[in-house]
């Protein structure tokens, strides 16, 4: 039963939630940010910020939580072996787990509170909105950067003999 959770449905759910999270992250960075920049020139971005962005952010931030919790569940009793690099066998997943944790922090502490100001869910002055836009953008772009090594170490951990043999 534990094998089924570890290698079957648990890992599958972790990956599926991760696909949703990182898929939406790439949507924001590769599609929505350039789209809103283009829309700003002819004032056609209102539909995106009103109807698309809040829904995308909803799935984005909760998929991030689900991914992290399922990852922690998969590590189970090896949680500290991974995060504290206590065991050689968990170095690769430890790096992946730290990168994922930093990314979760960026989502909930930097991206989401600032996006709430940008989208008008929270009251903010124009000056505060401009600052929020900058912080949210940089955090989102940082997560895109971090996703590259994160995905490598997550995948490599399952194939350690090939990469770290």
């Amino acid at each position: 039963m534990m094998d089924f959770i570890q290698l079957g449905i648990g890992r599958w759910l972790h990956i599926a939630a991760g696909v949703m999270w990182i898929g939406l992250l790439y949507y924001f960075n590769f599609v929505q940010v350039p789209a809103l920049a283009a829309a700003g020139k002819d004032n056609t971005g209102a539909g995106i910020t009103k109807h698309v962005a809040p829904r995308a952010l909803f799935w984005f931030r909760w998929a991030a939580v689900a991914t992290w919790l399922l990852g922690a569940l998969l590590l189970g009793k090896n949680f500290f072996n991974a995060f504290l690099f206590l065991n050689h066998a968990f170095y690769a997943i430890g790096v992946g787990a730290w990168l994922g944790t930093i990314m979760l922090f960026n989502v909930w502490v930097l991206i989401w509170p600032n996006q709430q100001k940008i989208l008008g869910m929270v009251q903010a002055t124009d000056e505060e909105k401009a600052k929020a836009r900058r912080v949210a953008f940089l955090a989102s772009r940082t997560n895109t950067l971090l996703s590259i090594p994160m995905l490598f170490f997550m995948a490599a951990a399952g194939h350690q003999g090939i990469f770290f043999g």
């Binding site: 960075n29 590769f30 350039p34 920049a37 690099f85 050689h88 170095y91 690769a92 790096v95 772009r141 895109t144 950067l145 971090l146 996703s147 590259i148 090594p149 490598f152 170490f153 490599a156 990469f163 770290f164």
Partner: protein, 31 residues
Amino acid sequence: MKYFLDSLGWTVFWGVVLTLILYNVVKYAFQ
């Protein structure tokens, strides 16, 4: 195209560089 090269292109570039650095740290420095 300019947008890609200015921003996402560099993001991906540094992402790959960071991956290679961390890979070598885990593979060699930690052994």
